[in-house]
Subunit: 218 residues, 2 copies
Amino acid sequence: MTTRRTGLRERKKQVTREALREAALRLALERGPDNVRVDDIAEAAGVSPRTYNNYFSSREEAIVAAISAERESRVAAAVAALPAGARLADGVIDAIVEQYTAPGEPGRDTLLLITTSPALRNAFLNATAAIERPLADAINDRLDETDPYTARVLAASVAAAVHVALERWLQPATTSPTAGDLVVPAGSLPDLLRTALAPLTPALDAAEKRPPRDEQHR
Amino acid sequence: MTTRRTGLRERKKQVTREALREAALRLALERGPDNVRVDDIAEAAGVSPRTYNNYFSSREEAIVAAISAERESRVAAAVAALPAGARLADGVIDAIVEQYTAPGEPGRDTLLLITTSPALRNAFLNATAAIERPLADAINDRLDETDPYTARVLAASVAAAVHVALERWLQPATTSPTAGDLVVPAGSLPDLLRTALAPLTPALDAAEKRPPRDEQHR
DNA sequence: AGCAAAACTTGCGTGCACGCAAGTTTGCGC
DNA sequence: GCGCAAACTTGCGTGCACGCAAGTTTTGCT
């Protein structure tokens, strides 16, 4: 299920795609995100500018794709591969945390790049929506008695939670004028992810009609 | 809390905004969504094209705004106004269903308009994200012992569920090649919304540390 | 091998989003 | 009233997204 369809054409496309991603990220890092035109990326990858837009529908998308790569399918795969008895909630959370901590994830420089440009930041955050479909399928497979829309909703909620966590993660440490600084500077990504996903645990439990077991940690 | 800030200037802006919305929707209905350039909208509203983009950041946004108008703040208000003892989950669900059935909501023609253009469809769906912030605040107020991020996540999840429901609603009745047509043609919006939001009930209950009461209907 | 259909690339043209630097209007303190 | 500062509008210029209609490459079929 890794490589489908016929051979040569698909391979070429994949190569082009990869070339574009790589060029986009490299150039953005070298010159700063605002000093890269899509023409530059296209040229660096050896295709016409028009072709760039056959692969990516915005200037930022290629850069983001270079970072996020295949994350969504790996999360879905991890969930699909869960042992039968496992708690869905835990499986999903672990899968996500694991993927966002995997090698190839943004290093300090890349991160800085992302926070620099608002457009890039948004593109990065919106990319989390990509896990929705695959994750919905994976969840649905474990819940096959229930209707498919429950899975869709749960997957969408998970994506939304991840979105919230990432958003917080990229925040440069707010000094709110409300109370003294009760707001913590940030936290590590895994912690943020777990915190954001925790409130959804009851929903996931209920979906697999687990006894409404409450918190086991804490 | 309805009209803030100073008078004349704000009023003018509101008038312009309204004029743009109204012009956008009217023209789109008259000519079809693809035969309206932003120049036309601007002209019809008596402002420069450049100004259009000071109010709306895409061509579709004005049209969508004309439909969705103040929905998000009304949902948030309804939640904020919930009686103290009420179940959060019910309050949220009712508030949403109510707002999406309120007068001023899309009539048949408007709906058709939306489904016609993919770009418009997306804009309409993405508009659901606007309830996130206000709703998060409203939820947070009812949960003030818990940390604010729980509220954020719940609000985002609710928005995501609404998104799923609307997406399904706009679907023109899929004839999937899987089993015979087990897929129903659509369903009424309120039903779709309630179905989509139902899986989140356990999460909302848990957040207000309600006894994990299970389903009362069905 | 040969060939027709399907998939992909490319140049072109149009409309759009948005930064910038004037011009214009409104708000406010005196 | 007066005038300055802040807010808003506008034209301009640049880069971008994407439909369309050739050209080119790949594929499946015979």
